[in-house]
């Protein structure tokens, strides 16, 4: 499985006074089993890009290939693409609507005409992937769950379609710290057990640093930068100019390094930062 985006351009309201170029010649590839993080300030084109990856938007020009198949030439059945590429919108819990958790998760597979006996297996497996127990909450109303649980049920609904690519738009936004940690570890679990491509957009640089194999930075409808989290977050000045940021720990370490040049650190996590400090100060005392 792979995704290839070639010279993608999208213009909102072409020929109108509000004409806006939301994507301008965007090209990149995502390889099998990769986790790709996408960052960019509001309005940089991230969400427009995501919507092209499963055919919700048709490009003004350019192409998107999913597993070698062009999905933008109008020849492919979009329903097949959407089965392959699962898109989880921002605040997906607002889309829950069924009476029970099990019915909500089953909605997608049932619509594909899958046999009932297979549907239950799909639902059980999807709920288990997001860390929820079918027997425990399958018959509960999704609206009685906590915020983090609701979000996981919504994600399970997409996983029940067995996608080969999972796209998440701001998966941790608006969650409390505990639920936030749970969603991050859930994404890792999904990735490890399904081995699928995961593409996620986030404004949380800590999440981007800890999950992504590779990061794409969007700015003014173009890809401004791409690389490993280490590479991307070493360009703090360019990121700041684009209205972005580095992970909080990196920012703290840079402020420290500016005052104490002997403490240099590329740490993206607190543990790494602490090690770098201890190493830089012989006889460090607690």
């Amino acid at each position: 499985m792979s995704i290839e985006v070639k010279n993608l351009t999208y213009i909102y309201n072409p020929g109108m006074p509000g004409e806006t170029r939301a994507l301008d010649g965007v090209s990149f590839e995502v390889h099998d089993g990769e986790i790709l993080g996408i960052i960019g300030h509001t309005g940089s084109g991230k969400s427009t890009l995501l919507q092209h990856l499963n055919g919700l938007l048709r490009p003004t020009s350019g192409q998107v290939f999913v597993d070698g198949q062009c999905i933008t030439d109008g020849k492919v059945r979009l329903v097949d693409i959407r089965r392959k590429v699962g898109l989880v919108f921002q605040y997906p819990e607002y889309q829950l609507f069924e009476e029970t958790v099990a019915k909500d998760v089953a909605f997608g597979p049932r619509n594909t005409g899958l046999e009932e006996s297979k549907i239950e297996n799909r639902v059980r497996a999807a709920l288990s992937l997001v860390g929820l127990d079918y027997d425990e909450i399958g018959e509960s109303s999704p609206f009685e769950l906590s915020g983090g649980q609701k979000r996981r049920v919504a994600i399970a609904g997409v996983l029940a379609m067995r996608p080969s690519v999972l796209i998440l738009d701001e998966p941790t936004a608006g969650l409390d710290p505990a639920a936030h940690r749970e969603i991050l570890s859930m994404i890792r679990t999904i990735h490890e057990s399904m081995g699928i491509i995961i593409i996620f957009v986030s404004h949380n640089m800590g999440d981007i640093a800890s999950l992504s194999d590779r990061v794409i930075v969007m700015d003014k409808a173009k890809i401004a930068m791409s690389g490993t989290p280490q590479e991307v977050f070493s360009h703090d000045k360019q990121l700041a100019a684009m209205g972005l940021d580095v992970p909080p720990v990196r920012s703290i370490m840079m402020q420290i390094a500016a005052e104490i040049p002997s403490i240099q650190s590329n740490a993206l996590t607190t543990q790494e930062a602490a090690e770098d400090i201890r190493r830089a100060i012989p006889g460090f005392e607690q």
Binding site: G43, Q90, S146, D176, D245, I256, T270, I281
Partner: protein
Amino acid sequence: MAFIEIRDLVVQFTRISEDGSETAGKKAIDGIDLDVEKGSFVAVIGMNGSGKSTLAKCLNGLIIPTSGKVLVDGMDTSDDSHIWDIRRRIGMVFQNPDNQIVSSIVEDDVAFGPENLGIPPEEIRERVDNALKEVGMYENRLKGAHMLSGGQKQRIAIAGAVAMKPQCIVFDEPTAMLDPKGRESVMRIIRQLNSEGITTILITHFMNEAAQADRIVVLGKGKVLADRTPDRLFSDMELIDRAGLELPPLIELREVLGLSDSIMTVEDMISELKKQCR
């Protein structure tokens, strides 16, 4: 007398079953006592479902207490005759900007509140311009609100509250949907408004934002679990775990390094490390 006084507040929702019968539902707020002094900056944190947003909606009478009282500047929110005086004093900014935009053009939306207060047109113009500049949206003042992204809409909603010049603004997770620059600019606006004397109540899941307040109220299951200064709260790991919270990044680093609780800012950390370097 404090600007906001909350006494024994209980909010209990009603469950309506399919046959139409009503039974008592969940207690979203279960006995809260809280005072907010004029000009103070109070952060409210806690897990999803702990009652934070319900509490916010009680402050300007969007939700009326099931029992207990909420007094704003001495006025009871359950007294209908005072509701507009209360809402003039307390502005609200919610998490989802899509629910807060009322006009099709950005500057009209920001002008909506002041217009309803009957303020002269010249002053409305000035207030709207200033509010839009404060949130970095002045250049977009003539754009259609539907053309904006979620984060930009949120900044418009904040400008709308700012243009009302209220005595207090309640921010309910105002930065949850913003990009880093947007978050930073909103926090800068919040601090600035507070320094100008506006009583500020900030509901947030970001611990580094809560740490900027004078005082942090921790809610859990509709009750106040703690009401402390940031330094005293973030040195209590047992409470942080129990309330499902986390430490702000700097304090987490301090804890991993095993340094003193007195270190609360990057500056504190730098001077401690400088001492160690010698």
